[in-house]
């Protein structure tokens, strides 16, 4: 016999037997009939079975949350595609609609060091309502070398000799396909801090901005493939470049005869 507290308890074997018999005696007559419960089970599982067969016969193991998230992602992606890519809208796109065809360009400038006189920079592409393409390459010549301050000008032909504090930027445009300009292209270069506005239909050699941040916004207009339609579809191109090391920047834009730029004229763009 084992003493616990102030009372006496039976040995383990008897104790275990007591617990076992007590548990078996508890609710001894309780034996629910599965018949009625089976009806309830059938009733409660019937709806979900039908739903599963009808809606998702091929995805029985995916949870509803996963499917809902996938649907939301798919719809969002489709909406973005339709709104961002103009030619997905079809050939009868309205002028207003195509105006939204903003072209993304770089947000940060390329490195300026060691690229003296080289064609360099990010390419961007515009797409017209009939599949026309306008490709542009932002290029620059850094006449000052890796270390502009106090360096001598290493390149020439850019019209910026003796202006060692300037870094020159060039916007080279190459039109391809059957695109022809029907009105004067308008280029705007705005130094927002000074309010100075450069350009329009002229060569802006030697122009310079004295701010480290120069924002050039070019608006290009062209007609569609069918001249008779005479549809002018402006496309806004926003190009933002941040200056390098506080040096001045300059925009050079050189429209050619007939307002057609080709790769062959690239060299002439350099003032």
């Amino acid at each position: 016999m084992r003493r616990v507290g102030s009372g006496t308890v039976p040995p383990d074997e008897n104790f275990d037997r007591l617990i076992r018999t007590s548990l078996q005696a508890d609710f001894a007559g309780y034996a629910p009939d599965p018949t009625s419960a089976l009806g309830e089970l059938r009733y409660r599982t019937r709806g979900s079975e039908r739903k599963r067969r009808r809606i998702l016969p091929f995805l029985p193991r995916l949870s509803k949350t996963v499917i809902a998230v996938a649907c939301v992602v798919f719809v969002t992606a489709a909406a973005l595609l339709v709104t961002e890519i103009p030619h997905l809208r079809g050939p009868n796109a309205t002028q207003q609609g195509v105006q939204q065809a903003a072209v993304k360009t770089v947000a940060t400038p390329p490195e300026l060091e060691n690229v003296t006189g080289q064609r360099f920079g990010p390419a961007f592409q515009l797409r017209g309502p009939h599949g026309q393409q306008v490709t542009g390459v932002l290029s620059y010549a850094n006449p000052l070398g890796p270390n502009p301050i106090g360096s001598k000008l290493k390149t020439s032909g850019c019209g910026t000799d003796n202006q060692p504090t300037f870094i020159h930027w060039y916007l080279w445009l190459t039109l391809s396909g059957d695109i022809s300009m029907v009105n004067d292209p308008t280029f705007d270069a705005v130094d927002r801090e000074s309010g100075t506005q450069f350009l329009r239909n002229s060569v802006q050699t030697g122009q310079s901005a004295t701010r480290t941040q120069l924002i050039a916004a070019a608006t290009l207009a062209w007609a569609g493939q069918s001249q008779s339609a005479n549809t002018i579809v402006p496309v806004d191109v926003d190009i933002t470049y941040i200056g390098h090391g506080g040096k001045a920047q300059q925009v050079h834009l050189t429209p050619q005869q007939g307002w057609q730029f080709t790769a062959d004229t690239r060299g002439q763009l350099c003032p």
Partner: protein
Amino acid sequence: VTTSHLNSTVGMVMSRARRREPSSLPAQSLEELFVQHYTRLCQLAVRMLGDPMRAEDVVMDAFLEVHRVVDRLDWQTAPAYVRRAVVNRALRVLSRATSEERLVDRAARERLLPAEVGHGVDQQELSAERDRVLLAIAELPPREKVAIVLSYYEDLPLAQIAAAMGCREGTVKRYLSQARARLTERLGQVTS
């Protein structure tokens, strides 16, 4: 499988269940599984919960949970799976029971004690002793109570209790040891 065949199969299983004969073949459908094990699981759950209505709800919910995964259910281990679902739900119900509900349960059990006492003196003493044991078991913490019921009522080995409760065998041993100590202490005090 035709409806008539299914009904005959379910009927056979139900008659076997009424005779409380163990089924030699594992169930091949949820309804078969239900008919084979519903009564037994209700009897297990009622000893954990102390309330037939709650016990039947818990068992039904467990089978509905099984229905959600019935496509990938292994029918050989399905009974153990359902039992684990019942134990989990019973534990949840026990853990959520407020102290007020526990007091009400205890009072109900205590009120029932005189009514269940037998006629003879020995029978009366035996019944009173069992009731004291059941009352002590009812007052155990939920996990200890479930371990005691699975061990003493279901006669499950430690490994299966651990599987049903989702813990390790060592943990089950600890639950059983603590439960025995509590029961011993309470029943000892009562005996004294």
